[in-house]
């Protein structure tokens, strides 16, 4: 099911808070008694009276709220909200944003939209404004996230631009969510500073992985893709520093026209220099943001880079490295690459198109980004039944 993570249409029924606030949704009225004041009571049935003591109320049906503050009727796009979700409510705009969804395995926390790279295919183009409120809010949200959360992503922008603040956020996660795996998407450049990488290691987070993009074996190629001179050196030094601190690091390589040609050289370089990394993800293009703007120069049909992709996978596997293919439909991959394909697209932006009608492998396939409506491989077709992939 596709859900809208940010939606407007909250209708307030009484007085509201002056500014945005964060809370956790609860569906079980009463059992908490006078609750901590962090919970938003979700009431799906018609109710004549609401129990007092909640941070706010989210209602399917209007009712008399008396003197209670922050009671809202949910819009039709907001009915996916459920017990355990952590949301941000913006009363002035009537907006509600999901920070954490209990029903999803793809929860990602945005810590900043600033970035020191400007990748030609960036799906979430960076902004320059000071957005430290994001981190403020996150610190409030993290303590509300249920302790049984399986995995959380941290993304940007470039999270490492937060510096010591990032360390603080991760420390908070270690303390409040000790059983939750954390995956940070970072360009790694700031960790070229050994002290920063050291501080990351010193957190002692029990289950932390850093996903770092590297787009070439050659500095000039990588620097071009990320549009920043010297970025390759900083990223590689960052990776080395993080590994010296025994942190888990995966490489993320986005395949497009500018990078596909050297894929075999890249794999050889990784197998020779960075064998100790924990995972390599070779990723299809998400046609969003700059990727959409630059689509005509960046687009390459996956069918046209199969030999390079296959060789890269062979090279990395021979070096005994864990390797995955992300964001590719099975019908665009050679059959011997199917075992490496993962269902990698987050549920909230994942879909299939009409061409998939009648495909016997749909359950094994990761499908598309919703944004793939802009351009898809000429190889998309229904597949006959085959051996299931892992």
């Amino acid at each position: 099911m596709l859900v809208k993570l940010h939606a407007r249409g909250l209708r307030s029924l009484g007085t509201t808070s002056p500014g945005p606030f964060v809370g956790r949704i609860s569906e079980s009225a009463g059992d908490k008694g006078a609750c901590s004041g962090e919970e938003l009571l979700l009431v799906k049935a018609e109710a004549s009276a609401l129990p007092p003591g909640y941070l706010g109320y989210l209602l399917y049906h209007p009712t008399d709220v008396g003197s209670l503050r922050d009671a809202y009727v949910l819009g039709p796009e907001q009915r996916h909200l459920q017990h355990g979700d952590v949301v941000r409510i913006d009363p002035a705009r009537g907006g509600i944003s999901s920070i954490y969804r209990a029903a999803s395995r793809h929860n990602t926390l945005l810590v900043t939209e600033r970035c020191d790279n400007l990748c030609v295919m960036c799906s979430q183009p960076p902004r320059v404004q000071d957005d430290s409120w994001l981190a403020d809010e996150l610190e409030r949200a993290i303590v509300l996230i249920p302790k049984d959360a399986v995995e959380l992503g941290i993304t940007g922008g470039e999270p490492a631009l937060l510096g010591a603040r990032l360390v603080r956020i991760l420390t908070l996660m270690r303390d409040h969510l000790p059983r939750t795996a954390v995956h940070i998407l970072t360009n790694g450049r700031r960790f070229a500073e050994p002290a920063f990488a050291g501080a990351m290691g010193a957190i002692g987070h029990p289950d932390l992985m850093l996903g770092i993009p590297l787009y070439s074996d050659l500095p000039e190629e990588h620097d071009y893709v990320v549009q920043a001179r010297g970025a390759f050196d900083e990223t590689v030094r960052g990776i080395l520093n993080l590994k010296r601190k025994r942190l888990r690091v995966e490489l993320r390589f986005v395949i497009h026209r500018d990078t596909a040609g050297r894929l075999p050289d890249f794999a050889r370089f990784v197998a020779r220099n960075l064998t100790f990394l924990d995972h390599v993800a070779l990723m299809g293009l998400e046609v969003m943001g700059f990727a959409k703007t630059n689509l005509d120069t960046l687009w390459i049909d996956p069918l046209d880079y199969q030999p390079e992709l296959a060789e890269a996978i062979r090279t990395l596997r021979r070096a005994n490295m864990a390797v995955s293919i992300y964001n590719h439909q099975l019908c665009t991959l050679d059959a011997d690459l199917h075992p490496f394909a993962r269902k990698s697209i987050s549920d909230w932006k994942n879909c299939f198109f009409a061409e998939c009608e009648g495909c016997a492998r749909k359950d094994d396939c990761g499908g598309f980004f919703v944004s793939s409506s802009a351009r898809r491989s000429r190889g998309i077709r229904p597949l006959p039944p085959g051996a299931p992939t892992r």
Binding site: P126, D217, E220, E234, D258, R268, N273
Partner: protein, 605 residues
């Protein structure tokens, strides 16, 4: 003389061979003297070079050949000499430029965070061309040599390799490569050069160098127990076994076995391999049981991974021996020299066909212990030379998926006389034919792998190289393997104890009764040859592109030349390694059909 590509001899004057001599004049504006001297060292197996007195910028040189030399051989040697001098000249240039970098690459370089500021503001993307480095690159340390004709093999200290033409090499060293060219990009990606835009190559080189060298720190992994010298076979090439029934004289005592096991567990290596050898070790089954049980106990106490193997001719494979192997998960390693007629001739046994008994042993061992329980090695004698296809086919017929083509070692007088009956070229022909046969069989669908090739491939392709004891620098003697002989003497290698059987005790480190682990491992008998033979500093090796894929063999050179270093121009070990490596690299780079198989072998597939 003109130092352009292809000019290998003094232009304008044809070389003449007269009175077993070739005379020429060297222009010191073209070749520096050290280059000429090194070139002369390299052809020392063919001629003696005598330099005359200096006249201005030139010096006369006379190449003196032995009386048996033919004119064409001598002219070919002279051509090689001038080619070497020219290559050496280029090496001197590379050495001068990269010498300050070597120490820098072999320690952790300081990490300098770049001063670049986050540059978020440009809304317009810069074109790819804006990121091409300026044409101002610097060389990183590397070695080169001729692979085949004008094709050059270049390697760096961490074992990455590039093939290029001589003219391209010259252009590379003289900084004439364009930054956008594919050769430039290959050399940069593999860390043969770096430019203004990126210095992280130094960090990565340092890291790779440390990781590769760190293998040495694991210390002794292979421990060989010679439990008896008695044997029921009398193989042509064996010098150590005895046909005696004198148990007291040629068997290892339980007391020595105990001491050896305890010594073995003083090695810090986490993965220990215990190899039981002979003679025929199964003649000493109770002692093997004793050793296996003690080693198992110790491995649990010390939390080590223990692997045990018995090297046996399988003639005495009793049910009791099989149950011992099963109980302690001991593997069997046997010798299979080829089809019955060849095998029986080379490995005669008192009680009938050794081949038939070995085949029966293989069958029973596989039945009791599983299909992977038995491996086999072969030894090449003059009689094997024409029969490599038969030998390979015999391995397949007997269900083996791996074969190790091995040349004879020159230890023992009989072996020595056999060695003299075939040369390195004979062996290389045998090896190339055998490898071709093995690759054909593998391609046709029967998984088969050649082990000598696989070791070389791992050294070429893996960032960590290979732990194979015989191809290490520093040498694998002592720090890679230790041998506990039947009489309690401790040797630095299996070949070291064979050398001792011939009366040369150079590699005897001490005795189990008298010496501690520390004493053995710091004995002069070990430290001297180790430090003397580190390849990177040995004459000729120091310039050889095969260095990262080769190893020091102090025992071989002691046995053949009387000293641990040896003059490599006279070394059959050197000729054999270079010949095999040339062939493997050519296959890897020029034979697309076989390349994928070789890559799989290196990966352990």
């Amino acid at each position: 003389m003109d130092p352009v590509d292809g000019a290998h001899e003094p232009a304008g004057e044809a070389l003449a061979f007269q009175d077993c001599r070739i005379r020429a004049t060297i222009d010191l504006r073209v070749y520096r003297l050290s280059a000429v001297q090194k070139a002369a060292y390299r052809v020392a197996d063919k001629c003696t070079a005598v330099l005359g007195a200096l006249h201005g910028d030139s010096v006369p040189i006379t190449l003196i050949f032995p009386p048996s030399s033919t004119e064409s051989d001598a002219l070919e040697t002279a051509r090689r000499f001038f080619q070497e001098a020219l290559d050496q000249e280029l090496r001197e240039k590379i050495g001068e430029e990269t010498a300050p970098l070597r120490p820098c690459c072999s320690r952790t370089p300081s990490l300098e965070p770049s001063s670049l500021r986050p540059d978020v503001t440009h809304p317009i993307f810069q074109p790819r061309a804006a990121f091409i480095p300026r044409a101002n690159y610097r060389l990183l340390p590397f070695r080169f040599g001729r692979l085949d004709g004008e094709t050059i093999l270049a390697t760096n200290d961490v074992g990455e390799h590039v093939l290029l033409e001589r003219s391209e090499l010259q252009a590379f060293v003289e900084r004439r490569l364009a930054p956008g060219s594919s050769l430039y990009r290959t050399l940069k990606s593999r860390h043969f050069l770096y430019d203004d835009d990126s210095t992280v190559a130094l960090d990565l080189l340092a890291l790779k160098y440390r990781n590769r060298a760190e293998q040495v720190a694991a210390f002794t992994g292979l421990h060989i127990f010679v439990v008896t010298l008695r044997c029921d076979h009398s193989c042509q090439y064996c010098q150590v076994s005895r046909q005696s029934e004198d148990r007291a004289r040629y068997d290892m005592s339980e007391e020595h076995a105990d001491k050896a096991v305890d010594l073995m567990f003083q090695s810090p290596n986490e993965n220990l391999k215990l190899e039981i050898q002979g003679g025929e070790p199964l003649l000493q089954l109770p002692l093997i049981r004793h050793i296996a049980e003690r080693a198992r106990r110790r491995s649990e106490e010390h939390h080590r991974n223990l692997q045990m193997v018995i090297a046996t001719n399988l003639s005495r494979l009793s049910d009791e021996a099989l149950s011992l192997c099963e109980e302690h998960r001991i593997c069997l390693s046997t010798s299979l020299d080829g089809p019955a007629d060849l095998h029986d001739r080379q490995r005669p046994a008192r009680e009938g066909s050794s081949h038939a008994r070995m085949v029966e042993g293989i069958r029973r061992a596989r039945e009791a212990l599983g299909p992977e329980a038995v491996s086999a090695l072969m030894t090449t004698t003059p009689a094997s030379l024409d029969r490599v296809e038969d030998i390979v086919d015999e391995y397949v017929r007997l269900g083996f998926h791996s074969i190790f083509l091995r040349s004879l070692s020159p230890y023992g007088f009989a072996a020595r006389s056999l060695v003299h009956r075939y040369g390195v070229d004979d062996w290389l022909r045998f090896y190339r034919r055998g490898l071709a046969r093995i690759l054909d069989i593998h391609r046709s669908g029967y998984a088969l792998r050649e082990e000598a090739t696989t070791i070389l491939l791992q050294k070429i392709l893996s960032p960590l190289g290979s732990t194979y004891v015989d191809l290490q620098s520093p040498a694998g003697i002592g720090i890679g393997a230790l041998v506990y002989n039947y009489d309690g003497a401790v040797y630095a290698s299996d070949e070291g104890r064979m050398l001792a059987e011939m009366g040369d005790e150079s590699f005897r480190l001490g005795h189990l009764d008298r010496d501690s682990y520390e004493g053995l491992m710091t004995s002069e008998a070990l430290l001297a040859p180790l430090s003397e033979t580190i390849l990177e500093g040995m004459p000729m090796c120091t310039d050889c592109p095969f260095v990262p894929y080769c190893g020091a063999d102090p025992v071989y050179h002691r046995a053949t030349q009387g000293n641990a270093v040896g003059h490599k121009a006279f070394s059959a070990f050197c000729a054999k390694q270079m010949g095999m490596l040339r062939h493997v690299i050519m296959l890897l780079e020029r034979d697309a059909a076989n390349r994928e198989i070789l890559l799989d072998w290196a990966a352990g597939g």
